[in-house]
Symmetry: C2
């Protein structure tokens, strides 16, 4: 495989297969070194492809892998993975596991992705808990928040691994030199926090090879005072969901204010373009999905409601990750080689 | 005392004594049943009062209590409280403790307020952990989030007390009948969460006298799907700070978008009033400070950067709390009578 081969779960998410397939085509058009394997119901995928412009020109950059089953969002993850061997999601896991793809992207069930990533694809030997690590928009750039995944009761030593992998990711995939690492806590003073954060502070302070700057408050995440923010997955989930919820409600309220009366509607027309550009920079989808770090390969989980742009960016994220040989750099940083 | 007597720490916060004193005057003007004791440096308080309009008409509704010392935000709480007996903050605690005031309001150090509230004012007998409970703006109203205070490693049974006190507060102070209570968790399914939330779910499900609707995700807090959201203080802090941070950064970005060029500036003029009204409804300060519930009296902590409107609303909040005899209703709900 000279190109980056990405397995795409075309049946996952609210807009499957339309948006995943469109995202794949856009990614291929943007970067000729990307090859996408489209997993899902062949006829449905072909129907979407037939609507895409210039599809003949890129026909050597994708292939369809027909799958008869689909894992739904509400299904219990472990059972679903065990029983639906011919589902698009399980076949993506296996493609990465068997080196038929370097990485995979799915907008399907978060639970099934977390389980399948760890159980089928498998962890890098020595990685204790693979963290789910979304990039969030900040005032002036992006921040990697990890863990937002399944490790709701982790140990302090796991947070040290998160900090190391997060640093490697930001340096190599996003291009931030010597990224600053903060421990998310209820105050910036060393003695603040719960049992986990107090212990993690001590361990992180003694860890070499990372640029640990101490505790940060959750308020500093949107402000972007650090590049990598580490926490347990319960905390990460709270921050991520509050981020999304407050952003969505505020934007809804602002839209309401713009359409109050004729005067505001005229005003809205005048600011539309500028406001749209601003909001685009603060749109979580813009940065692609969340990688599950520390696997033998890479899994990127996009939002359930992701549109083609998020899928496209996630596939390009996979390409950058593979091209920069990030997994080997994880092993070096974690002293696993 | 026939009126509600509120002790105000005039030296706490970034804009002391100007904004606290102005807030007190506004509260008195709004409600003639409020009497405010102004604690702080007498000369500085008098200087602010001398600038207020119609001050003579309300001179029977306040008094100044001179204090020689001030507790700064950065001071270690326990030492500060022990050593600065003549500080405005410590004298407010003692006023409530000694029944010289029904309630107190301070924009000073959060740590010192949490410690002084519990140690000097003291808990209602049987209340295990007094929660700090801010009201947050939602899409269509407000939600009480507790605990955002000092209980970072609470037990599940403490969350049950939070749910009960929060229900009484929303019903009596905010006027919501049969308020819905949600447990903040990483998913809505019963089996989701960390050790604490799993145990708390079981206990809350079995608790009579509250309207427990199950787990809620953090995203539902700005959406306002429940009236009372319970969690440990670490989680509460994460949500509160993310709320404030995302709101502030988004508003800054929107302002930037409005002042991009001449066209957007004209547009901004047309939408200004409508946008301002919208933002006012989503402004945390609008709802006053956060009460520390379960004390023998009431302490309301306002933001360090609070302006007069937040102080005023906090004083009125104290009045409603005392008038509705909420502490006795806490005792009934908690079966402490």
């Amino acid at each position: 495989m000279s190109n980056t081969v990405v397995a795409l779960d075309c049946m996952g998410g609210d807009y499957a297969p339309l948006e995943p397939v469109k995202g794949a085509i856009d990614a291929i058009k943007e970067n000729e070194n990307i090859f996408v394997k489209l997993y899902g119901r062949k006829e449905e995928i072909e129907a979407v492809l037939s609507e895409c412009a210039d599809i003949d020109k890129i026909s050597s950059s994708y292939e369809i892998v027909d799958c008869s089953e689909v894992i739904e969002t509400g299904e219990p993850p472990v059972n679903a993975i065990r029983q639906k061997e011919d589902s698009s999601l399980v076949k993506c896991f296996k493609a990465v596991k068997n080196n038929e793809a370097h990485a995979m992207v799915s907008a399907g069930s978060t639970g099934a992705n977390l389980v399948g990533g760890q159980v089928i694809i498998g962890r890098i030997k020595g990685v204790q808990r693979p963290p789910l690590a979304p990039l969030l928009p900040t005032e002036n750039g992006v921040i990697l928040l990890l863990d937002c995944g399944a490790n709701v009761d982790p140990k302090a030593k796991h947070l040290v691994q998160f900090a190391k992998m997060g640093s490697v990711y930001m340096e190599n995939v996003v291009g931030i030199k010597n990224p600053k690492v903060g421990l998310v806590n209820i105050g910036t003073e060393e003695e603040k926090g719960n049992a986990l954060s107090k212990e993690a502070y001590q361990l992180l302070s003694q860890t070499e090879g990372i640029n640990f700057v101490g505790n940060i408050e959750a308020r500093e995440i949107p402000e972007g005072t650090v590049d990598v923010a580490v926490c347990d997955a319960f905390t990460g989930n709270m921050i991520l969901k509050t981020y999304e919820g407050v952003g969505a409600v505020l934007l809804k309220k602002i839209k309401g204010a713009l359409f109050t009366n004729l005067k505001t509607k005229i005003g809205a027309l005048l600011i539309k373009k500028s406001l749209k550009n601003t909001m685009k920079a603060f749109n979580i989808e813009q940065y692609g999905g969340a990688p599950l770090l520390g696997l033998n390969g890479l899994l990127v989980k996009t939002h359930g409601n992701s549109k083609s742009v998020e899928v496209k960016n996630s596939i390009i994220q996979c390409h950058n990750f593979i091209e920069k040989d990030v997994n080997n750099k994880f092993k070096e940083k974690l002293s696993l080689k």
